[in-house]
């Protein structure tokens, strides 16, 4: 498979414009790493790619591509499979990630883990806080933990509402 060559030059030009747009804008608005955004954008269009394909399409080094796909797998945006009969991995995006933000953000697992970790920190601060309470910085750490615990408790409901509303538009 050689995706970079398969596309007609005029189409390839439009594709590059799309990818560059998302690489720039996603970084500007969300702080996402430009290389991660660019690789992600190629998946929006191509849907399944190897690391070799991505190197050819983007011109980035093997190390940069490997790091970016690993992060996208961790983000639940793409999956990794072995091409049968080879040792090569193929990465796939089954559906555009924003089609289901709940799936994309792995809401339940991620938030459960986050809640547990924050709760542990809060308990530690409550139980062993005694001596620390007078230290500069204690209150800031404590306030952020409390703030995040409140914030994340409202996220699942918010996500459900988004999914429900999106469902009305997306058949």
């Amino acid at each position: 498979m050689n995706n970079a060559i398969e596309f007609d030059p005029e189409i390839r030009q439009i594709e590059q414009e799309i990818v560059e747009f998302f690489a720039e804008k996603a970084s500007e608005y969300t702080g996402r790493h430009p290389i991660v955004s660019m690789v992600m954008s190629y998946f929006y269009i191509r849907r399944s790619l190897t690391q070799r394909d991505l190197r050819k399409l983007t011109g980035f080094s093997a190390g940069a591509i490997s790091k970016a796909v690993r992060q996208l797998v961790d983000m639940n945006v793409i999956t990794r499979e072995v091409i049968p009969g080879t040792h090569t991995h193929i990465y796939k995006m089954e559906t555009l990630p924003f089609r289901s933000p709940k799936y994309f953000l792995q809401t339940e697992q991620t938030l459960e883990k986050l809640h547990k970790e924050l709760k542990e920190i809060k308990d530690k601060l409550d139980v062993h806080g005694g001596k620390m309470r007078n230290l500069e910085g204690y209150q800031k750490v404590y306030d952020i933990v409390k703030h995040l615990l409140v914030q994340i408790s409202s996220v699942p409901r918010f996500m459900d509402l988004i999914e429900e509303e999106l469902g009305k538009f997306i058949k």
Binding site: E6, F7, D8, E10, I11, R12, I14, E15, E17, I18, F21, K25, A26, S27, E28, Y29, T30, G31, R32, H33, V36, S37, M40, Y44, I45, Q71, L72, D74, M75, L96, F98, R99, L105, Q106, T110, L114, E117, L118, I121, K124, L125, H128, K131, M132, L135, G137, Y138, K140, V141, I144, V145, H147, L148, Q151, L161, I162, E165, L166, F169, I170
Partner: protein
């Protein structure tokens, strides 16, 4: 003796803060940010005011790295740079309270959606040349555009609805407080 107890408490607080930074930074990583940006951002959320030197000590990154990350965060609207009264250089402050910074990102998202929408119209115009429809790669671009043409307006509608809901609940709270 007293000072060693204090040192122990300080160490304990530092370890706790470090743990909190890791938790917040991991969340940033899952949003696609770089590990370095996520870590610096986590410290700024907690401390709310930092200097490049302090971030260098806390993270172990070089001043060049810290400076580049801070520039990105300034562009992102997360921090504001101010001249320091006590030290040389600048202090970087979180651009509002943590809640304000978080709700700002929702407002920004609307701007992002409208930029995407405008850009996709341009792409649509380029792709509409009849000579392209038989070309290799056309169907992949077409599929992407078709999906985005449904998703972007859907998100715009949903966000608008949430903004109205938030406004309504705020007005209700103000009304209740007045009564």
């Amino acid at each position: 003796m007293k000072s060693s107890k204090k040192a122990l408490s300080e160490e304990r607080l530092k370890v706790t803060e470090r743990k909190l930074v890791d938790v917040i930074a991991n969340f940033g990583y899952l949003k696609g940010r770089s590990a370095k940006t996520s870590e610096v951002m986590a410290y700024i959320y907690i401390r709310q005011e930092v200097t490049q030197q302090l971030l260098r000590e806390l993270t172990g990154y070089s001043l060049g790295t810290v400076s580049a990350v801070l520039q990105d965060l300034e562009k992102l609207g997360v921090v504001n740079k101010h001249s320091s009264q006590n030290a040389r250089g600048y202090v970087y402050r979180l651009a509002g309270t943590p809640s304000q910074v978080m709700s700002q990102s929702m407002a920004d998202f609307q701007g992002y959606l409208s930029e995407i929408s405008g850009f996709l119209d341009e792409v649509e115009a380029k792709l509409s040349k009849s000579s392209l429809s038989k070309k290799q790669g056309y169907s992949q671009l077409r599929r992407f555009l078709d999906e985005m043409n449904v998703l972007i307006p859907a998100y715009q509608q949903v966000l608008q609805k949430f903004q109205t809901m938030r406004l309504d609940s705020r007005q209700t709270r103000v009304g209740a407080a007045n009564e």
